[in-house]
Amino acid sequence: MDVQTLLVLLYVLVLASFVGFELIAKVPPTLHTPLMSGSNAISGITMVGAILASGPSPFMYNASKVLGLLALVLATINVVGGYAVTDRMLKMFKKKK
């Protein structure tokens, strides 16, 4: 990676962090647990990285690919489990009339 690309990525990081701070500071305490498990699921975005790492040349195993596939299993647990449990929780948040 060259320095130019790095700078662009840094821009993305800084701006996304500002958006994050703005949005999350407003989340009420009632929703802190779902926020946490929901954002936990988002951190499973590493799935994308894992797919890239396990991508090349089918059934030609080397360390790089094995690590990638292992990462993919873990990240998928994180993503699917995280979204499913957050949905289960939020289903229960009701306001009685």
Binding site: V3, T5, L6, L9, V19, G20, F21, L23, I24, P29, T30, L31, H32, T33, P34, M36, G38, S39, N40, I42, S43, G44, I45, T46, V48, G49, A50, I51, L52, A53, S54, G55, P56, S64, K65, L67, G68, L69, L70, A71, L72, V73, L74, A75, T76, I77, V79, V80, G81, Y83, A84, T86, D87, R88, M89, K91, M92, K94, K95, K96
Partner: protein, 464 residues
């Protein structure tokens, strides 16, 4: 259209949906839809990635995704709401481990393909990704084990703890620099991984149970930062944006938790809180005289009240008393008594823990009031019922400058006309300090298991 443009546009759409999803998570009415948006974003990002040239081994990828989905879904469907902190901790760990593995995979690929050369930028991003990911992984596993009781939830301290941690950290930094200067030497690479894994364990071990909300929030943040660095390793924007959202969310929650305990993050991370003070007064020459109350008498007090505030704490979660509490609250409301719940920000083992348990028991979320909103109302309240909470209602935080919890914002439960405390015995709270509230004139103790006490109260009130 060029395939690459489709992929990049999909990533853009995914990023927008992630941001909208988080925004909607901020309101109870839209939260569930927000979570769905975010899940759709993830789906789009994954699908787009599968289009990338060079991703060829679809069979293996689908098998891996299938295995991961099955495990994740199974766990999510069967986990108890009281176990949410453990589950989040464990999933954080998986996220961290995935980041380590991806960075490791990338390192291996670059250093083994003849035409590729690991440059400084790659080196730095890979090293950072590995360190943060590995600390997140083992730290989360320790937090998970502490939360579910596999290892003691108490703070584990030993002499030289901080010096050892600092030394290990220094070695990791040196190894990282050497790794970046001599990218072909795998030795440094393995040293970095090993030290980061050990550091994750050592950093969480000294932190005790009730400080876990801070730790879980912080590890949540780390798992996002780890994803972020993986984004730098792979030059992938959607990873950076999603990772940054998680990273900031964790940092904000960490700050809120620390503020609610009036302690700095450093103080929490250094650990050992409550250890020194609890060892001294355990022999218990307590000068606090408590007044016990029976179920019948307590029932009469509730029956003649017109307003009740319930303060739930970790003890309610342990006793699984939330459903009994709901029944109790419904019964009082039917009698025309105003019932509300006062929620301290650090009640339980993760941010918002009490809210989830009470939501599970089908209690309307507008009955759950934050500390700042309800603290002035205690003085006009007939009865305050404390269920398994201790330090968060200890007036020593206001009055006693020598107390370890002095300065911590607390619920003003002591100001209500009568306080009834459900408690197993007279043990001190997490901070290891005695609760002077229990000796107050307006405070009555109802000893026993929280769940059965509440159930007995319900049947007693019904008979009145």
């Amino acid at each position: 259209m060029d395939k690459n443009i489709i992929i990049q546009l999909s990533y853009l759409v995914a990023s927008i949906l992630f941001i909208l999803g988080i925004k909607m998570l901020g309101k109870p009415a839209t939260a569930r839809r927000g979570n769905t948006y975010s899940a759709v974003a993830m789906f789009i990002a994954v699908m787009a990635t599968l289009l990338i040239q060079g991703v060829l081994s679809y069979t293996e990828i689908f098998v891996a995704i299938l295995i991961g989905s099955a495990i994740g879904y199974y766990y999510a469907a069967k986990v108890e709401m009281t176990q949410m902190p453990e589950m989040v901790a464990l999933f954080n760990g998986f996220g961290g481990a995935a980041s380590v593995l991806v960075a490791g995979s990338e390192y291996w690929r670059i250093s083994n393909e003849a035409h590729l050369q690991l440059n400084i930028v790659d080196g730095i991003t890979i090293v950072l990704s590995i360190i943060i990911g590995a600390i997140t992984f083992t730290g989360s596993v320790v937090a998970w084990a502490k939360l579910n009781g596999t290892i003691s939830g108490k703070a584990i301290v030993y002499s030289g703890q901080h010096i050892i941690n600092l030394l290990l950290f220094a070695i990791a930094v040196v190894a990282s620099v050497l790794q970046i200067i001599y990218p072909d030497n795998d030795l440094y690479f393995f040293i970095i991984i090993a030290i980061a894994l050990v550091l994750g364990i050592l950093v969480v071990i000294p932190i005790g149970g009730a400080d876990m909300p801070v730790v879980v929030s912080l590890l949540n943040s780390y798992s996002g930062i780890a994803a972020c660095f993986t984004g730098f390793v792979l030059n992938n924007q959607v990873l950076i944006i999603a990772g940054a959202l998680v990273g900031t969310s964790g940092i904000i929650l960490t700050q809120i938790m620390c503020k609610a305990m009036n302690r700095s993050l450093i103080n929490v991370l250094l650990g050992g809180f409550g250890q020194t003070s609890s060892s001294a007064p355990t022999t218990g020459k307590s000068d606090i005289q408590v007044k016990e109350v029976g179920v019948e008498e307590a029932a009469i007090i509730f029956d003649s009240a017109s307003s009740v505030i319930i303060v739930p704490g970790y003890g309610m979660a342990v006793a699984q008393a939330q459903h009994a509490v709901r029944e109790f609250a419904d019964l009082l409301e039917k009698k025309g008594i105003n019932v509300r719940f006062a929620i301290h920000p650090v009640a339980g083992r993760m941010p918002g823990h009490m809210n989830v348990l009470l939501a599970e028991a089908n209690i309307s979320y507008d009955k759950l009031i934050e500390m700042d909103m309800i603290n002035n109302d205690f003085a006009n309240t007939d009865v305050c019922l404390i269920i398994g909470a201790n330090d968060v209602v200890n007036p020593a935080a206001r009055n006693d400058a020598s107390s370890p919890i002095y300065g911590m914002p607390i619920l003003n439960a002591d100001k209500s006309r009568t306080v009834i405390v459900l408690k197993r015995g007279m043990s001190a709270g997490y901070a290891g300090v005695e609760n002077e509230l229990f000796g107050y004139d307006n405070c009555l103790m109802l000893f026993g298991d929280a769940k059965s006490s509440v159930e007995k109260l319900v049947s007693e009130i019904k008979e009145l």
